[in-house]
């Protein structure tokens, strides 16, 4: 996925580029802001992050100009202005979302993913398997050989994260933070409780030591 970033603040542009690249997006971030609409048309990105206060042409005008050229590429406005009128303005000019600074990185990534999902359809992976254990995100189950056990939402999210980093330790802190990103607001003790339950379910499948604990480090499958 290709994202075009129009942001004039140097630090923010640099960090935003790193953040998006870490999230596996391809990024174009110009440093001067003449003829942005032409530039965008040429680059034909999948999504545009547009700062409202740009030197020369404002983000709103750029969006209007894009829409006039019948460019339907989704636009997310980024701004430090918090007037409600601005937000309304952004939507009227054909923006798809509006995020105010200071934004939290996870929120930004979630909004980007949501807009892309809305405009492109779902391309996310729905099942994982590792060492013969299969996690099905749609059915919310975990299975091994012919046996299958149902999971709760929280258990599934925990396993999802472990499967994404299969073979590596995931720190408890990172696990908790990722769960918070997924709207599961638990503390350290609750995490232990959930992992214990998952272990019990894995035992039912006959995979006793599937999840390993390393004290002070975290969990690994």
């Amino acid at each position: 996925m290709h994202i075009f970033v129009a942001e004039d603040e140097k630090t923010i542009r640099r960090e935003l580029t790193i953040l998006l690249e870490n999230a596996m997006y391809q990024v174009t971030a110009p440093e001067n802001f003449e003829n942005i609409p032409d530039w965008i048309t040429e680059a034909s990105p999948d999504l545009i992050l547009l700062d409202v206060n740009l030197p020369g042409m404002s983000g709103f005008d750029i969006c209007t100009s894009l829409r006039q050229r019948e460019n339907t590429c989704p636009v997310i406005f980024l701004t430090s202005r918090t007037d409600s009128m601005d937000e309304l303005n952004g939507m009227l000019r054909g923006g798809d979302d509006y995020i105010t600074k200071p934004y939290q990185a996870p929120i930004l990534l979630a909004r980007i993913a949501a807009v892309l999902k809305r405009t492109r359809g779902n391309t996310e992976k729905t099942s994982y398997s590792y060492e013969n254990v299969r996690l099905d995100l749609l059915k919310c189950t975990i299975s091994c050989d012919e046996k299958e056990v149902e999971l709760t939402k929280n258990e599934m999210k925990i396993l999802h994260l472990l499967f994404m980093h299969a073979g590596n330790y995931v720190a408890r802190q990172d696990l908790i933070e990722s769960l918070w990103d997924n709207q599961i607001f638990i503390d350290d003790n609750t995490l232990s409780v959930h992992v214990t339950r998952i272990r019990e379910k894995l035992r039912e499948l006959g995979r006793d030591n599937f999840i390993q604990t390393k004290r002070g480090m975290g969990y690994r499958i």
Binding site: E9, T11, I12, E15, L16, I18, L19, N22, S80, R81, T82, D83, S84, M85, E87, L88, T100, K101, P102, Y103, Q104, A105, P106, I107, Q173, I176, E177, W180, D181, Q183, F185, I186, D187, D188, N189, T190
Partner: protein, 343 residues
């Protein structure tokens, strides 16, 4: 102007007239005037004097009554000088002129103060917008730094937390500056409470995780309000819960309840609670109470702002608590039956 006061005021003049009458009588009697004629003259003189003074009393009373009425009806009383009833009397005109001049200086002073305040407010707003760029920069730097292999994730988390505090203080300044004139900056729209709560929790992610706080969110309801302002209010409440949390397994729960004429958002924590004697005053400006004094980091502004913004948005805010056990803040959203029926 009262009858008695009027005569009291004229006492000196009456004494002078009395003296004049006495001197005239003595002079007339000495020059051989008849006693009867002198008495007649005196009576006539007194009658004329009384008539004149009554007339004057009526006229004065009418004038001041009218002025008082104008003053009563006026919105800005310092504008009286411009609206006083006309008078043929020299004295009145001199006073009116003086009042007018005095009022003018007051008006000038007020205008100047208003302009200064407006400028200050505008500066604060633009400052808030400016400072948000570096705050965003720091937040992104931390987020990227945390993920670097060689970095020190713990340090970046700490910086992130401090940055979030900074962000909240900056927000407080902005909302304080705006709290007088909400109408300029709100957008009432359908707001999903669950999403709004998620946003607030997300914003305070590091702080909450660090404090080992668990959150339960169960508020799948929509209300009509301004999302941003509501988010700010809920944020203050969450920050308070963190500040006054209990030591083992602290928890915050968000629950939405819908009844026929309103929707409630109930935010409950199991923290140290509020003393009963402090409870009625927690929304007052600058009130810190027992908890605030013990912790020494309360300013007494957070909840005051919440209350003020709630008033502006037409929400009810209420606190229930038991010291050492829980605190419950209830936000009540009026529900427009018309809108929900049309939908």
């Amino acid at each position: 102007m009262r009858w008695r006061d009027y005569w009291k005021d004229k006492a000196l003049f009456l004494i002078f007239e009395g003296c004049c009458m006495a001197v005239t009588c003595i002079f007339l009697r000495l020059t051989g005037y008849e006693k009867g004629n002198v008495i007649l003259l005196l009576l006539f003189w007194t009658l004329l004097l009384l008539l004149w003074m009554c007339r004057e009393y009526m006229e004065r009373r009418k004038y001041f009554k009218k002025t008082a009425e104008i003053l009563e009806k006026m919105d800005q009383r310092y504008l009286l000088g411009e609206l006083m009833p006309p008078s043929w009397r020299l004295e009145d005109r001199i006073y009116q002129n003086m009042i007018r001049r005095s009022n003018k200086s007051v008006i000038e002073k007020i205008r100047k103060l208003e302009a200064e305040q407006q400028e200050y407010k505008e500066y604060i707003e633009s400052w808030v917008h400016e400072i948000k760029a570096p705050i965003t920069g720091i937040s992104l730097l931390c987020e990227n730094g945390r993920k670097e292999e060689t970095g020190a994730p713990e340090r970046f988390r700490q910086i992130s937390m401090e940055n979030a505090k900074l962000e909240n203080y900056v927000d407080m300044v902005l909302y304080y500056a705006r709290s007088e004139q909400v109408y300029k900056d709100y957008l009432i729209q359908s707001c999903h409470l669950q999403e709004m709560v998620y946003d607030v929790l997300e914003r305070n992610r590091f702080l909450l995780i660090r404090n080992g706080i668990r959150a339960e969110v169960n508020c799948d309801e929509d209300v009509f309000t301004d999302k941003k302002w509501l988010g700010f209010i809920v944020n203050q409440i969450v920050l308070n819960s963190v500040k006054y949390k209990r030591e083992n397994s602290p928890c915050i729960s968000f629950l939405a309840q819908k009844t026929t004429d309103h929707t409630c958002l109930i935010i409950e924590d199991n923290g140290m609670g509020i003393q009963e004697k402090d409870l009625p005053r927690i929304f007052e400006k600058g009130f810190t109470g027992e908890n605030g004094r013990n912790q020494k980091k309360s300013t007494g502004i957070g909840l005051y702002l919440c209350k003020k913004l709630c008033d502006q948005l037409g929400l009810e805010i209420e606190a229930q608590s038991k010291a050492g056990s829980y605190t419950k803040i209830i936000l009540q959203f009026p529900q427009n039956n018309y809108i929900s029926e049309v939908r």
